[in-house]
């Protein structure tokens, strides 16, 4: 067991727990968005009266995919554990990438390109947009840097035979 590296340790991108946590990251940020901003703060609205119909369709698709990803991520994680390919460091890196990617997607595509909704209404939007996208960018960047570090570590740990 200790002589040859397990296939799970070859690279983070070929590890099941990385992708499981990536999906969970997307879903957790989507859930935070829904729970904190829609339900608790009520800054977002169910429908803001200005959304084009085609954006409603794409929003429905995104929301449905989030719900699926949330559940499938859990089962994929269970599967990684069952196969003994679960690696906590890979999983955390994937989780951060997922969190950040959703937030940046929401901030750039949903808010600005599709104009599904804005972060808050009746206020100067710019500081909110900057805060949202900067936070998402920071999460995404730290996740990507961590992934790169894991790449280098796995490469040095398992030299080619």
């Amino acid at each position: 067991m200790s002589g040859t590296p397990h296939t799970a340790d070859v690279s983070p991108l070929r590890n099941r727990s990385y992708w499981a946590a990536f999906l969970l990251g997307i879903a957790v940020m989507a859930a935070i968005d829904e729970i904190v901003f829609h339900q608790i703060l009520a800054w977002h609205h169910f429908y803001d009266g200005a959304t084009p119909d085609i954006a409603l369709l794409s929003d429905g698709l995104l929301h449905a995919a989030e719900l699926f990803v949330f559940v499938f991520g859990f089962f994929l994680m269970l599967d990684a554990r069952r196969r003994e390919t679960f690696r906590a460091s890979f999983a955390w890196a994937g989780f951060l990438v997922g969190l950040g990617l959703f937030q940046v997607w929401d901030g750039v595509i949903d808010h600005k390109v599709l104009r599904l909704h804005q972060i808050r209404y009746g206020v100067e939007l710019l500081p909110y947009d900057i805060a949202w996208n900067a936070a998402g960018g920071a999460l995404l960047l730290s996740g990507l840097v961590w992934t790169l570090m894991l790449f280098r570590r796995t490469r040095t740990a398992s030299p080619r035979p």
Partner: protein, 284 residues
């Protein structure tokens, strides 16, 4: 509020007398009562039949009946929100519970050989195969929903009792087909692959959510804005809740079947591979 009070009076005037009303309720309730009696009788005869399946059947039949008779059904002629609650019960909650009750498995175990063979031949027929194709089932279910709310059919359904019953029956059967196509519990000779079923589930959930938001944005004619807003949100979040259960069932099935394919020894714990489900017990 004005137009609604008017229709309320309208409906009241056309209501049959109390005696006719009672017999109409009895006729409407009879099939549901029979469904419960037949299932429970069969389940009692089968030693070891899981009690939770019987509970699911009883709850499913009651949920389905709520859309046809009782206070919710009568309120749904005036209130869009009540209509939507009834619709969620008959089209989503009841089918899920009825499918979880595995009625075909119970029937195959209870019936004698000849009718059981006949039933399994019907289940294997080309028609059954076409109906439980995920795309066909999703179109019959969510596609019909779009047709109902974006055409005058919805207004007709509110005015004519027969249309109301037919529409609700359609959604009960379409909901059952949809659930069976995506998360079959009973023996399913035509089961589609996991990725195909997952894609159809996500797309139909998206179509359901988008329709809810369209109804919020542009209420059907004759519906007050506040009523439409509450009803549309009920449709959106209620649909999410039921579809979440469908997603969990679908992914759990993926987890079980992919566990069976794992070579022995790669699985960390022997409990990773679950015991065979009841549907496999009867397929021989």
């Amino acid at each position: 509020m004005q137009p609604e009070t008017k229709t309320a009076i309208d409906v009241h005037v056309h209501d049959p007398g109390p005696g006719d009303d009672l017999s109409a309720h009895v006729i409407l309730a009879a099939p549901f009562v029979v469904a419960i009696i037949v299932y429970v009788a069969a389940a009692v005869g089968q030693r070891g039949w899981p009690w939770h399946r019987t509970a699911a059947w009883v709850a499913g039949v009651i949920a389905a009946y709520a859309a046809f008779g009782g206070p919710l059904a009568s309120a749904s002629h005036q209130s869009f929100t009540a209509h939507m609650a009834a619709h969620l019960l008959v089209g989503m909650v009841a089918p899920l519970l009825l499918v979880l009750a595995a009625p075909v498995t119970l029937a195959l175990r209870t019936m004698s050989v000849v009718p059981a063979r006949r039933l399994s031949r019907v289940l294997r027929s080309p028609l059954a195969r076409a109906l439980v194709n995920p795309v066909v089932a999703a179109l019959l279910n969510v596609g019909a929903l779009w047709a109902l709310y974006l055409t005058p059919l919805y207004a007709l359904m509110r005015d004519v009792m027969l249309v109301h019953v037919l529409v609700m029956l359609h959604f009960l059967f379409a909901g059952c087909l949809y659930t069976v196509a995506l998360v079959p519990i009973d023996p399913s000779p035509h089961k589609a692959g996991f990725a195909f079923r997952a894609a159809v589930l996500v797309l139909s959930l998206a179509a359901h959510g988008a329709l809810a938001k369209l109804l919020y944005a542009r209420p059907p004619p004759g519906i007050a804005a506040t009523d439409a807003h509450i009803g549309a949100q009920l449709m959106y979040y209620g649909g999410d809740a039921v579809d979440l259960v469908l997603i969990v069932l679908l992914c759990a099935e993926w987890y079980r079947t992919s566990g069976r394919r794992l070579p022995a020894g790669t699985v960390s714990r022997p409990t990773g591979v679950s015991a065979p489900t009841i549907s496999r017990g009867t397929s021989s």
